[in-house]
């Protein structure tokens, strides 16, 4: 129950209330209706972290690459140290 998972927004349906903003979100092919009230900035094609039917945040694509960059940075530094 506690696990939130990333999914891709396929479409967003117009609703009269901001609080009911709903999107169809694909989790690797499994599509679910998700409430987007808390991610007003989310657009079709964005990834959102979804928990119990609500998108909690959008996933920042640039930041997503950082996990690998960080690794490269550490290793780069190590090499620098070794060649000192």
């Amino acid at each position: 129950m506690c696990l939130a998972v990333p999914g891709k927004i396929l479409s967003i349906s117009d609703t009269e209330s901001e609080l009911m903003r709903t999107g169809r979100v694909s989790f690797g092919g499994i599509v679910k209706e998700v409430n987007l009230a808390y991610t007003p900035e989310a657009k079709v094609g964005d990834y959102v972290i979804v928990h119990v039917g609500f998108a909690l945040n959008t996933v920042d694509e640039e930041e997503a690459k950082r996990v690998f960059q960080y690794l490269d940075e550490i290793e780069g530094l190590d090499e620098l140290r070794e060649t000192e």
Binding site: M1, C2, L3, A4, V5, P6, G7, K8, L19, S26, F27, G28, G29, I30, K32, N35, A37, Y38, T39, P40, Y47, I49, H51, V52, G53, F54, L56, N57, V59, D60, E61, E63, A64, R66, V67, F68, Y70, L71, I74, E75
Partner: protein
């Protein structure tokens, strides 16, 4: 695939469990770019060798969240770490910390006539003093499993002559969803909807652990999705007061390894800062629009944690304006108290003082088919994770 699902369970249970395990990566899942990258084996091995390089002492690090515990045990991340680095599995599983009292209340309410009792699937098998919610269902109670609290709201609209109760459990992550359900119920003038509130907050639980005399924890991996909602401002005073590094960490194996690396680096260098490994999802301020609805509907209050006891200011309760939606009051159960049984040591496990296989009952009289405690029921519970992935 999933052990211990009872055949009599609602068909929904299977569908969602299947979805759940697909989302957890039990099957190959190449459509989603992020997931694939974060399961990158080579990068994981690099991180584990970096961790080996920088570690010179023994360290006890607690991962707070049950989702992280699940990943750690499933992918054997703890076995990749240098000797002496000990991962302590924290209390971050809402199913596991919901007090026996609230489970008994849920059973009491669900057993009443004219009630439709709605809950996340994980709660149905948590043993109460005498039975669990699935048994109530088998005896004719109208117990339904929901994916989202908004589904329960829909049922309330469709069944105006029934009382519809939602079991609102969870940490900061489910609070925005549960708050929204109550907010909309009030906005729509729905009178036949209420929630049984069992909301718990993570930072007070971390503080309770740190301030305990038997505390072993020297650094924390904070739960990424909790911080996606709350931000991480609350952790700065904690890191300062108890001199512990706190690293906001995601859930993929690579995230966890990077979080451990960042935490050990701080420990080795004698720093105690708040760092954010999970910046692709979490920012310092959290999600303001979610927090606005949460604080409109809920306020902070005392909460009893299963196996641990009462922790001041460690839960959410309904604001006075929303008190009509409190199922405990509506069904006259506010005064009900229940003592916890002695044989299950889940309270000690949740504080990280023992590992699941050190429990006498583990795998013998306590299994996922016949759980004695909630930590054996939930997928995020430490006992269940050990039972599924560690043959000890």
């Amino acid at each position: 695939m999933l052990k211990g699902r009872r055949k009599s369970a609602n068909q929904n249970l299977i569908t969602i469990s299947t979805l759940d395990s697909r989302l957890r990566g039990d099957i190959k899942w190449n459509k989603l770019k992020f997931i694939d990258e974060y399961r990158d084996k080579e990068a994981s091995l690099k991180y584990s060798s970096l961790i080996n390089d920088i570690t010179t002492k023994k360290w006890n690090i607690m991962e707070v969240c049950g989702g992280q515990t699940h990943s750690i045990v499933k992918f054997g991340i703890d076995e990749l770490l240098p000797e002496g680095v000990n991962l302590i599995h924290g209390p971050g599983c809402p199913v596991c910390v919901t007090s026996l009292e609230l489970i008994d209340k849920s059973i009491e309410i669900a057993s009443r006539e004219n009630v439709i009792f709605c809950s996340f699937g994980d709660m149905l098998r948590v043993p109460g003093s005498k039975k669990d919610l699935l048994q109530v269902k088998a005896e004719g109670g109208d117990v339904r499993m929901m994916y989202s609290p908004l589904d329960a709201l829909k049922i309330a609209r469709e069944n105006p002559d029934k009382e519809v109760v939602f079991f609102a459990v969870g940490f900061e992550t489910t609070a925005p969803a549960n708050a929204m359900a109550v907010y909309q119920a009030k906005a729509q003038g729905l009178k036949n909807f209420s929630i049984l509130v069992s909301h718990v907050l993570v930072p007070p639980a971390m503080e309770a652990i740190l301030s305990s005399k038997s505390n072993l924890v020297q650094g924390f991996l904070a739960a990424g999705h909790v911080c996606a909602v709350m931000g991480y401002n609350e952790y700065f005073p904690l890191a300062e007061k108890y001199k512990v590094p706190i690293v906001v960490t995601g859930f993929e194996p690579l995230d966890i390894l990077q979080g451990i690396y960042m935490c050990i680096k701080q420990l080795e260098e004698g720093r105690h800062e708040v760092e954010n490994q999970y910046a692709r999802v979490v920012n310092r301020e959290g999600n303001q629009s979610a927090m606005n609805i949460v604080s409109t509907v809920f306020k902070v209050g005392t909460r009893k944690w299963r196996g641990i006891g009462e922790i001041p200011d460690s839960g959410l309760v309904l604001q006075d304006d929303y008190i009509d939606y409190d199922a405990s009051l509506k069904f006259g159960l506010a005064e009900m108290t229940v003592e916890e049984p002695k044989e299950c040591i889940s309270g000690i496990i949740l504080q990280g003082l023992k590992k699941p296989h050190e429990c006498e009952a583990f795998g013998k009289i306590c299994t996922p088919e016949h759980p004695l405690g909630a930590t054996m029921v939930s997928n995020e519970g430490a006992c269940a994770a050990y039972y599924r992935y560690r043959k000890v």
